[in-house]
């Protein structure tokens, strides 16, 4: 049993991302097995208890107290870790006023608006239970809202969107991971050049992937408006989606509309189709798992087969060319699939997707499902983060709440995926790993490096089982991103990872590989 230590900082608040960064830094220290920094809410203390990190000193922490828990090899390491935590927290504190007579930072939106009366947008990412209060305050003050927070109750979302509509305001979210307003990145967004393609999306990673592909294909994005993942649900009624659609339809800088949505209610999808009919701009639509019957496609209204297709069609329309919504081309995909299964060990029969982006995971899962005949899962999946479990093939969305509760999102912290990769490789049964690497503002600074180390360990583990490690990655990003698309691609290839041209292509390859493996079996 390794020693555990806990430190309580009374009445000290840091946001969850700041705390996750502290947790990550502490866990990376030599000799530290696990570490966690979180606010002392009852839910968080449960998480600490579940991971054997609830040191006795933390038991009486209150919700406004900051808790640091460390599990380390010895007492010296513990002490060093706690000292390090203190300095990390001090470094993360907001700079105090240092100029003579300077004012402290405002504590409320009201205070901020006194200093910036012409503000027109509130970025809100406070814990979910407080998010609706802050969002309502912003809407009442006449501000548009980008609501990153998740865990906002559905009825609150309905009320907020109703209020936004009454006020003539746009609310992006809750659970909106990304947006681009005239190129300005909100949340986890990529550096995408300005251009004619306007995107509305209820999928955060979908918006990121399509905007990056548009950029890499040489065009640009006017605005990318997120709506939150539940916007097309029956209860919410597509309020933000329709508002954003109208806004882009009227926007002079937007020549082509691109609509990307997660599964929603058929009535709401029909509502979107009906609105599209009234708009006289060319549009590309990609609805994952579309349920409503779409209207007839035309040169001006294209139904894309996948994310890459959506981006390609949007680019064609932006250039005044005729789009062909044929889906992503099969020939190079098939060649790559055959190359990947060459020389595998006899026990390597399954495909394993380890994703940070939910929509990318779903697209890959759909590709595998198309290629593998098998009984659909008889019971609902036990694990909500498991997007697919068909025959021996599995796709996990590691960004799902089931994995991120009390832990950093894999966009920021790759450890969970790395551990999963090494553990699964050690089974010797995985033929192909499929991963998504997402670049952009706010995400991990060197994701390729972080993955490369794990790939080397996974390769060694696989070899012990006489298995070959095959990893296929997609990179969502651009060369203008802080991490650099080209640089990340080279680093991954150097580590022996095969890099697909897009997340869609990676999914299609994985699907073909799964099909080939299953038919061979």
């Amino acid at each position: 049993m390794m020693p555990i230590a806990g430190l309580v900082k009374p009445n000290t608040y840091r946001d969850s991302v700041a705390l996750m960064l502290v947790s990550t830094k502490l866990a990376e220290m030599p000799g530290v097995a696990q570490a966690s920094a979180m606010m002392g809410t009852p839910a968080n203390k449960e998480i600490l208890a579940a991971t054997d990190l609830l040191a006795p000193t933390l038991e009486h922490a209150r919700p406004n107290d900051l808790c640091i828990a460390v599990d380390a090899a010895d007492d010296d390491t513990l002490e060093r870790a706690l000292r390090n935590a203190e300095s990390l927290l001090a470094g993360g504190a907001a700079p105090a006023g240092t100029v003579l007579g300077s004012t402290r930072r405002p504590r409320t939106l009201e205070g901020a608006l006194r200093d910036r009366p012409d503000a027109n947008l509130a970025l809100i990412s406070v814990p979910g239970e407080y998010a609706a209060f802050e969002a309502r305050r912003a809407l009442r003050a006449g501000l548009h809202v980008f609501l990153f927070s998740d865990n906002v109750p559905l009825d609150e979302e309905v009320q907020l969107k109703q209020l936004a509509r009454e006020q003539g305001l746009l609310i992006m979210g809750p659970d909106c991971g990304t947006a681009l307003i005239a190129g300005a990145p909100l949340g986890f967004a990529n550096a995408v050049r300005p251009g004619k393609v306007g995107i509305v999306a209820s999928s955060g990673t979908g918006l990121q992937e399509v905007s990056c592909l548009v950029h890499r294909l040489g065009e640009g994005v006017s605005h990318g408006l997120g709506t939150g993942s539940r916007d097309l649900w029956q209860e919410v009624g597509g309020t933000s989606f329709l508002t954003a659609l109208d806004a882009l339809a009227a926007d002079e800088g937007t020549a082509v509309l691109t609509l990307i949505a997660k599964p929603g209610a058929p009535e709401i999808q029909e509502l979107v189709y009906a609105r599209l009919a009234e708009i006289c701009k060319p549009a590309v639509v990609y609805f994952l798992g579309a349920v409503a019957t779409p209207p007839t496609a035309s040169d001006e209204l294209v139904f894309a087969a996948d994310l890459e297709d959506a981006a390609r069609c949007a680019v064609a329309l932006a250039r005044g060319e005729r789009p062909s919504a044929a889906g992503t081309s099969r020939a190079p995909v098939e060649k790559l699939a055959r190359r990947l299964i060459c020389g595998l060990g006899p026990r390597q029969k399954s495909v394993s997707g380890l994703f940070a982006g939910g929509t990318l995971a779903q697209e890959a899962a759909a590709a595998i499902r198309r290629n593998v005949r098998g009984d659909p899962p008889s019971a609902p999946q036990a694990n909500p983060g498991e997007v697919l479990h068909l025959a021996s093939h599995r796709v996990l969305d590691l960004g799902d709440d089931a994995y991120t509760r009390g832990r950093p999102h894999p966009l920021i912290d790759p450890r969970l995926r790395n551990e999963e990769l090494v553990a699964q490789a050690a089974s010797g049964t995985v033929a192909l790993f499929l991963v998504d690497v997402i670049l952009g503002y706010g995400t991990h600074a060197e994701p390729a490096d972080a993955l490369s180390g794990a790939v080397a360990r996974a390769r060694a583990a696989a070899l012990e089982q006489d298995a070959q490690l095959r990893v296929l990655a997609s990179i969502t990003g651009t060369d203008d991103d802080p991490q650099g698309f080209g640089r990340q691609r080279r680093a991954l290839e150097k580590a022996g990872v095969v890099v697909a041209e897009s997340a869609t292509e990676a999914g299609l390859v994985a699907g073909l590989v799964a099909g080939l493996l299953s038919s061979a079996a």
Partner: protein
């Protein structure tokens, strides 16, 4: 149809306010260099408080509160306190004709009183001649033979322990604008004094002199020579380095300038005339008690029209509990345990010796003086143990974020003549978690020792949170 605001949003880079994750600010700066980040923290009052604030912000309710606050602010800013008389307290407060005492802060019983208030009560019993000696006085008080009532309940205020008995002379202040009246005892000077809990022979001698000579003489001077306008003295003193709580040097001299000719009219014997003038001139805090009575009459003027208003009309401490009154709920106290002041100590004393926060003098902060205009009084900043003048400026500005108005009649030179932050709004206090600051003297925790230092103390947030919850229930 696209609304004008949405059209405007897409017409250029956003002008954003960030609330939450700090990591999102940096990348946005390239597009929005003025992006502002709120220093957000979950409210200590949790979800119930957030719900109450949310309710008070509803479009059908917020304008009503704003209108009520505007009425209260109009009263605060328009009040015209004048010192009109000095009378025995029993003349002003009928219940003091019985065996009863007034005390500072919200209600408290003898058993719970701390050292300074107990000592002052013993001293008052001796002063009134109800008991022969200290032991007898304590026995009488312990037996419940003396009634206790908060000064605030009878329209007055009292410094530190606030102990006021019937024969003690009190300064009587009238509001010539709105018609209210308030009172406060006279300042006893420095050294061993009743307000800090001292009650020995020296204290008794001085109380006797105040009762027999100083009080009646000043009263007569005012009746003969006419009332003294206090609003103008207070405004001027603020530009002369006073904040009218811990520093009243300028105001005391300005008052003396008004009183001296009036005293000269009385034809007092030379020695007596001289003693009265010397006492007032030598008691730099003489004006504090005058200011307290003035602030009380201002606060009450607001309270009288305060239905649905979220503005604080009293802050007072009894050594155990800190009490806050809000205009919307009139006489109701919202209480929480007092904090212990932090500050600088006289030689030989330390924080260990400090009595918990006590006194009605926070009425000055209630209407925008004292700690709320700390920047007006650079001279007392080091004395209060505040970080430095820079910190005083920061605090003064911070107080501006929790009030409803600034008072143009009370301009602060160091803040570029910004008006004093006036009218504490319980909603803003609870929403920002910025606790009102109070400048204060620090009493020794034991009875009879007296003042051991001076500093600042914060009003506990819990009082304001309770007021917000009550307001959310009241306004329907």
């Amino acid at each position: 149809m696209v609304s004008q605001p949405i059209d405007a949003l897409l017409s250029g880079a956003p002008r954003a306010v960030n609330i939450g994750v700090e990591q999102f600010v940096r990348p946005l700066r390239a597009w929005d260099s003025d992006i502002l980040s709120v220093d957000w923290a979950p409210p200590p009052g949790g979800i119930p408080l957030a719900q109450a604030l949310d309710r008070l912000e509803a479009p059908e309710i917020a304008p009503r509160i704003e209108a009520a606050n505007a009425r209260v602010v109009e009263r605060f800013l328009g009040a015209r306190p004048a010192l009109v008389d000095v009378q025995p307290a029993a003349q002003i407060v009928p219940l003091l004709r019985e065996r009863a005492l007034l005390h500072a802060g919200p209600p408290i019983v003898w058993e719970e009183m701390t050292g300074p208030m107990r000592g002052a009560a013993i001293g008052a019993v001796l002063h009134e001649g109800w008991a022969e000696d200290e032991q007898a006085a304590e026995a009488m008080l312990g037996a419940g033979e003396v009634g206790f009532t908060p000064c605030h309940h009878v329209g007055g205020v009292g410094p530190m322990g606030g102990i006021t008995s019937g024969s003690m002379p009190v300064l009587v202040v009238h509001d010539t604008a709105w018609g209210g009246r308030s009172f406060c005892t006279l300042n006893e000077g420095v050294g061993r004094v009743l307000r800090f809990g001292a009650y020995g022979p020296e204290v008794q001698r001085r109380l006797g002199w105040i009762r027999e000579e100083l009080g009646p003489i000043v009263g007569r001077a005012l009746r003969v020579g006419g009332a003294v306008d206090l609003a103008s003295i207070m405004a001027r003193a603020l530009t002369m380095g006073d904040e009218l709580h811990q520093r009243n040097t300028a105001a005391t001299l300005l008052l003396l300038r008004e009183l001296a000719p009036r005293l000269a009219e009385l034809g007092l014997p030379g020695a007596q005339h001289r003693t009265v003038l010397e006492f007032m001139a030598g008691t730099e805090q003489f004006f504090l008690n005058v200011a307290m009575a003035a602030c009380k009459v201002i606060a009450d003027a607001g309270s009288a029209v305060g239905a649905e208003s979220s503005i604080v009309t009293a802050m007072a401490r009894n050594g155990v509990a800190f009490g806050v009154r809000m205009a919307a709920t009139g006489d109701r106290w919202f209480t929480a345990p007092v904090n212990t002041p932090r500050g600088l100590y006289f030689g030989g004393y330390s924080q260990e010796d400090a009595s918990p926060d006590i006194g009605d003098s926070a009425i000055t902060e209630t209407v925008g003086l004292g700690g709320f205009c700390l920047a007006a009084a650079p001279a007392v900043v080091p004395y209060l143990g505040v970080g430095g003048f820079d910190e005083a400026l920061v605090i003064s500005r911070e107080m501006q974020t929790i009030v409803a108005a600034s008072n143009p009649n009370l301009a602060i030179p160091a803040l570029d003549f910004a008006g004093a932050a006036t009218g504490i709004d319980v909603r803003r206090t609870a929403a920002t978690s910025v606790e009102p600051i109070i400048n204060t003297g620090i009493a020794h925790r034991s009875a009879g020792v007296g003042q051991v230092g001076a500093g600042t103390v914060r009003a506990p947030l819990a009082c304001f949170e309770q007021a917000v919850l009550a307001l959310a229930e009241t306004v329907v």
